[in-house]
């Protein structure tokens, strides 16, 4: 099984404003690090340009990060043990603080590319039920239900 992660963030201003300039500047290098990271499988791209963000119908100012990884460790090392961490530290400069969960993980069969709708459903599930094997977080992590038969 592979690990899918959806992350949604509420921008404090449109992407083309000076407040977001540093964030937009970080998109290309950080995406390149993700794409080259050990255990990276897939991410949803907004277009051919490295700075294109995902377009969707879930509201303005909602920034979507959606990716699939080989393991918890692979995703964890990218999020917290790569140059992504210093960028993540600055999240308050660019995104609103939200009380409800804004990131969710779940297991997908290898080769399956999850849809954004599927991801949003998982996020809703996490928000309504709390962490379960179907929708969880790094902190309340769940291993795949069936052993991975390689």
């Amino acid at each position: 099984m592979h690990l899918a992660q959806l992350n949604v963030a509420h921008l404090i201003a449109p992407l083309d404003t000076p407040q977001l300039a540093d964030f937009v500047a970080a998109l290309e290098p950080i995406n390149a690090i993700a794409d080259a990271a050990p255990g990276f499988v897939w991410r949803l791209k907004g277009g051919d340009q490295p700075t294109d963000t995902v377009r969707h119908d879930y509201g303005d100012h909602l920034l979507v990060n959606f990716s699939v990884w080989e393991s918890r460790e692979a995703l964890w090392n990218f999020v917290y043990r790569s140059p992504h961490l210093p960028v993540l530290r600055r999240r308050r400069e660019w995104f609103q603080r939200v009380a409800e969960p804004y990131t969710v993980m779940w297991w997908v069969p290898e080769g399956h590319t999850p849809s954004l709708e599927e991801g949003m459903d998982r996020l809703d599930l996490l928000r309504s039920q709390g962490p379960t094997p179907e929708a969880f977080t790094f902190h309340d992590f769940h291993e795949p239900a069936t052993p991975d038969v390689a």
Partner: protein, 219 residues
């Protein structure tokens, strides 16, 4: 007094370091941050290869090192010899506290509270002040990079130099940083920055994380 089974195991591990030769070998292997062969460890500690092998294997038994087999030369195929036994630090922590203390559980709870209250900025400010106080530990020397390394070493960071920067081999807050990385690594950075400012050091501290090490570097 009761010592439960787990503490007993940890106590056995720590007891293995009572022998000064063994302690020197442990320190040497750990400080390399990579696989170390018997020959190299023996040479570095000034003892014979057989004695080094004996003590290194004792350290593996005690759970402080782990062993593997690796070719130490680039040669492969017939004539390249058997892979050599190599040693590195074992993962996991050994703690012995008498009387029993459990600061970890409380720290994990407090870290959760900080996040729930959205108190990250205040936590970083407090960490910075703690870092400033750490400068009081500084040895009376004038060479600032050496002073900085000495304070960091005393705090368990295991500093080493790489490409003209000071990196830290060990994260003293490992369990916490796995649990709440964003909060804990930011606090650790603030702590290091507080230390620098109190030392009047020219270096700057920044996050340059990589797996298996503390994420703060000094440039």
């Amino acid at each position: 007094m009761e010592i439960d089974e787990r503490d007993g195991d940890d106590l056995d591990s720590v007891t293995a370091l009572g022998d000064p030769v063994r302690r020197a070998l442990y320190r040497f292997v750990v400080a390399q941050g990579r696989d170390v062969g018997r020959e190299e460890a023996a040479a570095a500690t000034g003892i014979g290869r057989t004695l080094a092998a004996f003590h290194l294997d004792k350290l593996v038994e005690a759970g402080l090192l782990e062993a593997g087999f690796r070719r130490l030369t680039d040669r492969t195929g017939p004539g390249s010899g058997r892979p050599a036994k190599v040693y590195r630090r074992a993962p996991g922590e050994r703690t012995v506290s008498l009387p029993p203390r459990d600061y970890r559980t409380m720290a994990l709870i407090l870290a959760e509270v900080v996040e729930r209250l959205g108190g990250e900025e205040q936590a970083e400010a407090a960490a910075r002040r703690a870092g400033e106080r750490m400068a009081a530990d500084a040895p009376p020397e004038t060479d600032l990079p050496a002073v900085l390394s000495a304070v960091l070493a005393r705090r368990g960071y295991e500093p080493y130099e790489e490409d003209g920067r000071i990196r830290l081999r060990n994260c003293p807050f490992h369990v916490l940083s796995e649990d709440r990385p964003l909060l804990v690594c930011s606090m650790n950075l603030a702590l290091c920055q507080g230390l620098l400012s109190a030392l009047d050091a020219e270096e700057t501290a920044m996050l340059d994380p990589r797996p298996g090490e503390c994420c703060v570097v000094f440039t």
